[in-house]
């Protein structure tokens, strides 16, 4: 007991004072661990530790067939599940030499942009909450429900909607879909304009975001930031434009940038991207090509390698897939957007800022912990920890839901 007394006492006496954020902390919606060394209110050092939700997806992918892996990688992250699926299946299709029908490409585009709308609205709420602006949090999450309803009505699920199947898509964009989604898009567009106006004019909100967490163009470029984080620093980097995949070659999209590089710019870029997405969805729906939704995919994928990038809502999602000519992939490497943006936060932005700004700066890159961690450890109760085989796990699952 006295040990604890002494250690805490010693820690208190030290001038440098470490404030741990996580693994469980109200600012974090998922487990991660940050240690901020502070002097008074100023952060002088920062470090991260991940792995609390590591599920070993990369390892698991090596012992499943290509179709199973498609559904597995969609579960890496619930919010950008479509991006993960698209990136992976794109590798498989390219390796098999399968060319998608144009209508399938357009459907993938639309699903991707709805996902982006959903993700950005979710982020807007979370970031506002971290800054202590709960009214915006509540409003944006109510609007997010509309997007969720669209997803549920047309793709069958609120998250993990699995639009992709090998060689095509499983959902069609019907006239009913277009009629159903149009009023919602109009409403969302109006709301996004309102939020844009609010972020530009609200005095206290600007006090908390303008010139906070600044990342310069050079820093951002050399650290390899991607997605809205990079674009808010003025970097013209968007996979949809640079390396157009699936439908983005048929229907080009323009990118949104801002050159101020602070938190406010990140808000503005994301909201403008939402407006752009709404416009884009309307455009694709109006010009959707006729044709089949799927083509035939072989069960065995020829040996080879493919490196695919997809512009997920958070930035560049990178997949490196190796095939050895069997029914299962040889290696699936996943590099998520959050992971490379960590680098920018830890190495450059955190130091010198106030502790009060940290949650908002962290939220500013839209971190996704489950994206970074990919491993499972099943441990029921405290007594008998054991690694379960797939069959045991399946049996347990079946019994549980009987």
């Amino acid at each position: 007991m006295s040990d604890i007394n002494q250690t805490t006492g010693a820690a208190l006496q030290k001038k440098k004072y470490i404030v741990p954020i996580g693994p469980q902390h109200p600012a974090l919606k998922e487990p991660g661990h940050f240690e901020f060394t502070v002097e008074g209110e100023i952060v002088v050092d920062a470090s991260i530790r991940l792995g609390y939700v590591h599920r070993g997806v990369e390892k698991a992918a090596e012992s499943r067939n290509w179709t199973q892996v498609l559904y597995l990688v969609e579960r890496v992250c619930g919010i950008c599940s479509h991006s993960h699926g698209t990136a992976f299946i794109q590798c498989a299709e390219k390796l098999a030499g399968v060319e998608l029908p144009p209508r399938a490409k357009a459907v993938r585009c639309i699903a991707g942009e709805i996902e982006r709308l959903h993700s950005h609205l979710l982020w807007l709420g979370v970031a506002a909450h971290e800054g202590g602006f709960d009214a915006l949090f509540m409003y944006s999450w109510r609007d997010r429900e509309i997007v969720m309803d669209i997803l549920e009505n047309f793709f069958g699920n609120r998250v993990n909607y699995s639009v992709n199947i090998p060689g095509g898509v499983k959902e069609d964009i019907t006239q009913e879909f277009i009629d159903g989604i149009s009023p919602d898009l109009d409403y969302l567009e109006e709301r996004m304009k309102f939020y844009l106006d609010l972020i530009n004019t609200d005095v206290t909100f600007r006090m908390r975001t303008v010139n906070i967490g600044k990342i310069s163009y050079d820093e951002s470029a050399s650290l390899g930031a991607t997605g809205p984080t990079a674009r808010a620093s003025g970097i013209q980097r968007d996979i949809r434009v640079d390396r157009p995949y699936d439908g983005y070659d048929l229907f080009p999209i323009t990118l949104v940038t801002d050159d101020r590089g602070d938190l406010n710019a990140r808000f503005i870029v994301r909201i403008k991207e939402c407006l752009k997405s709404i416009e884009y969805i309307r455009h694709v729906m109006a010009h959707i090509p006729e044709g089949e939704l799927t083509t035939k995919m072989p069960r065995k994928i020829p040996a080879g390698e493919y490196m695919a990038s997809v512009e997920a809502p958070r930035g560049e999602l990178f997949y490196f897939v190796r095939s050895n000519g069997t029914e299962m992939p040889d290696r699936v490497k996943i590099r998520t957007a959050s992971l490379c943006n960590w680098g920018t936060i830890v190495s450059s932005v955190a130091k010198g800022h106030r502790l009060a700004d940290m949650p908002m700066i962290l939220a500013g890159i839209d971190p996704c912990f489950s994206c970074n961690d990919r491993m499972v450890k099943i441990n029921f109760g405290n007594r008998n920890p054991e690694i379960w085989t797939w069959d045991q796990l399946r049996k347990y699952g079946n019994n549980f839901y009987k």
Binding site: M1, I4, N5, T8, G9, L12, Y17, I18, V19, P20, H25, P26, A27, V38, E41, A128, H129, E130, G131, G132, F133, D134, A135, F137, M138, Y139, R142, D202, T204, F205, M207, R208, R354, L355, A356, D357, M358, P359
Partner: protein, 306 residues
């Protein structure tokens, strides 16, 4: 007989149980209004009372490394401070229970003592979040306390009295001071938000940074007492401002209308503003708040001389 009466006044009405119940209603209204402004439903009317009853009945966990006596005594002290302060303030359309020249200073002292005990509770908790919260609580205290005090002294100066009841009676016989001294009113109201650590001055308990600040280690009875103390402080503060700036003691109906109007204003400010950083809070109070209240004071003094 008088002794029994005083005990009754302290424990049952107007302070004591009655005030606790009323303060729960005020907390509920505040939460409900904020929820409505934020497009939410909000809690049902008995939620704050249920929270407090539940907390009071729960086990209180005392961390190993804290000073046990202080940890247990501080919530009681904070609670006692606001309850005593309530006796000096005219509430529910009646004159205050105790009144003597200089009780305004006592009341302000008691209200500050409650904040200081919060800060001490945080520092005593030996928890990183609580210690950061405690420094923020005390820093904020130094920020708003000066202007807030000046804002409450302005009516006293105008009424030539240091007794709350006298000032209130003066206020009811003259034009409402919100019209004659609007700056003082604004500062008093915003100061009250700072005192209660509500948004936008909720940096001391910013949950996304330091969990719940000074109260991170508190549970059960201690937490409940701090909650009650804050709720009562809200009612006392509203009563004080309405007595000074909104035309005196009045009657029960007017008291309710006036305080509810003030509460609505506070809720509106809470839900439309973003949390300020602690350095921004301090800067704002000293650069704008202090100057404005000093200016208002100067005007009064000059007006009296000329």
């Amino acid at each position: 007989m008088t002794a029994i009466l005083s005990v009754l006044q302290l424990l049952i009405f107007p302070a004591g149980i009655f005030l606790i119940l009323i303060s729960c209603i005020y907390e509920w209204l505040d939460r409900r209004l904020v929820a409505q402004f934020q497009n939410r439903v909000g809690p049902r009317w008995f939620q704050p009372l249920a929270d407090i009853l539940k907390l009071l009945s729960k086990e209180e966990i005392v961390p190993i490394s804290v000073n046990r006596t202080l940890f247990i005594l501080l919530p009681i002290f904070a609670f006692a401070c606001v309850m005593t302060a309530a006796l000096y303030v005219p509430m529910f359309g009646m004159e205050s229970v105790i009144g003597y020249p200089g009780d305004l200073i006592i009341t302000m002292y008691l209200l500050s003592a409650m904040t200081v005990s919060l800060g001490m509770a945080g520092a005593n908790s030996m928890n990183r979040f609580a210690v950061v919260g405690a420094t923020r609580t005390l820093t904020q205290l130094f920020a708003y306390e000066g202007p807030f005090m000046l804002a409450l002294l302005i009516p006293a100066l105008v009424a030539h009295s240091w007794e709350i009841d006298d000032v209130a009676i003066y206020a009811s016989n003259h034009t409402w001071m919100i019209l004659t001294y609007p700056i003082g009113f604004a500062i008093a109201l915003i100061g009250l938000i700072g005192k209660l650590e509500l948004s936008p001055f909720d940096a001391p308990e910013a949950e996304s940074e330091i969990v719940s600040g000074v109260l991170s280690e508190y549970s059960g009875r201690g937490l409940a007492l701090f909650h009650i103390a804050k709720n009562v402080e809200l009612v006392v503060g509203l009563a004080l401002i309405s007595a000074f700036y909104l035309g005196g003691i009045g009657n029960l109906l007017f008291f309710t209308i006036k305080t509810l109007a003030l509460l609505m204003l506070i809720s509106l400010l809470q839900s439309t503003l973003t949390r300020l950083r602690i350095d921004q809070t301090v800067g704002l109070w000293w650069q704008i708040g202090a100057l404005l209240s000093l200016g208002q004071l100067l005007i009064i003094i000059l007006a009296r001389i000329l």
